[in-house]
């Protein structure tokens, strides 16, 4: 007898495979970053659902940490692709934005 957590785990795993296909085949770098960000969100959901599936919901702490790290990672990669530097803006680029 499959319960609702098993169904959600199967759906999440199938969807993660689709996201991996897009992250490998994406034409631009933004497609790949989008796929990795979506993969991270699905990983958070998979950790939460698997905690309930195995009867140990203590995995939710890991899911919380993973959600925050996923957001920080996406913003860092976007800043790197836009400015070419993680430390800060260059002087001329700052004038260009303002």
């Amino acid at each position: 007898m499959i319960d609702q957590f098993g169904a959600a785990t199967a759906a999440l795993l199938v969807c993660m495979v689709m996201t991996l296909i897009r992250s490998i085949a994406g034409p631009t770098v933004f497609d790949r970053v989008l796929a990795v960000n979506s993969f991270g969100t699905k990983t958070v959901l998979l950790i939460a659902v698997y905690g309930f599936l195995s009867g140990r919901p203590d995995f939710l702490d890991l899911a919380l940490v993973y959600a925050l790290m996923n957001f920080i990672g996406t913003i860092a990669v976007m800043k790197f692709t836009r400015f070419g530097d993680l430390a800060g803006m260059e002087e001329d680029e700052e004038e260009e934005i303002l």
Binding site: V44, F52, L60
Partner: protein, 112 residues
């Protein structure tokens, strides 16, 4: 029909609906033709899929500390996912990635 059975049925409904939204987002991430439309497909997974699955898990957990953790997780996902999508779309547009436009929707420079 007691309260436990109602909670289990609500958990089934919410988690299966969330799984359907997650699958729709995954199919859209493969099938849609353009980067900006793929953001739309990923947004379905980030909002409706994640929210429905987490609400279903809350119904399954009951009034415990686990529900508080799920609520914090839902808050973080709701706060950070639109922000990441916005940063991604803005960075792509600033780098000059052109959106795919339909027939008759081309951007005209000499409009008036």
């Amino acid at each position: 029909m007691n309260a436990t059975l109602i909670a289990v049925m609500l958990s089934w409904v919410f988690i299966v609906a969330g799984s359907v939204f997650v699958l729709i987002g995954g199919i859209g991430l493969i099938r849609l033709p353009d980067f900006y439309t793929r953001i739309h497909a990923a947004g379905i997974t980030d909002t409706m899929g994640a929210w429905l699955i987490l609400i279903g898990l809350m119904f399954s957990a009951g009034w415990t500390l686990v529900t508080v953790k799920l609520f914090v997780l839902l808050f973080f996902l709701a706060a950070t996912s639109p922000l990441a999508s916005h940063a991604l779309a803005k960075a792509a547009f600033m780098r000059g990635l052109e959106p795919m436009l339909g027939r008759g929707l081309e951007i005209e420079d000499d409009h008036d």
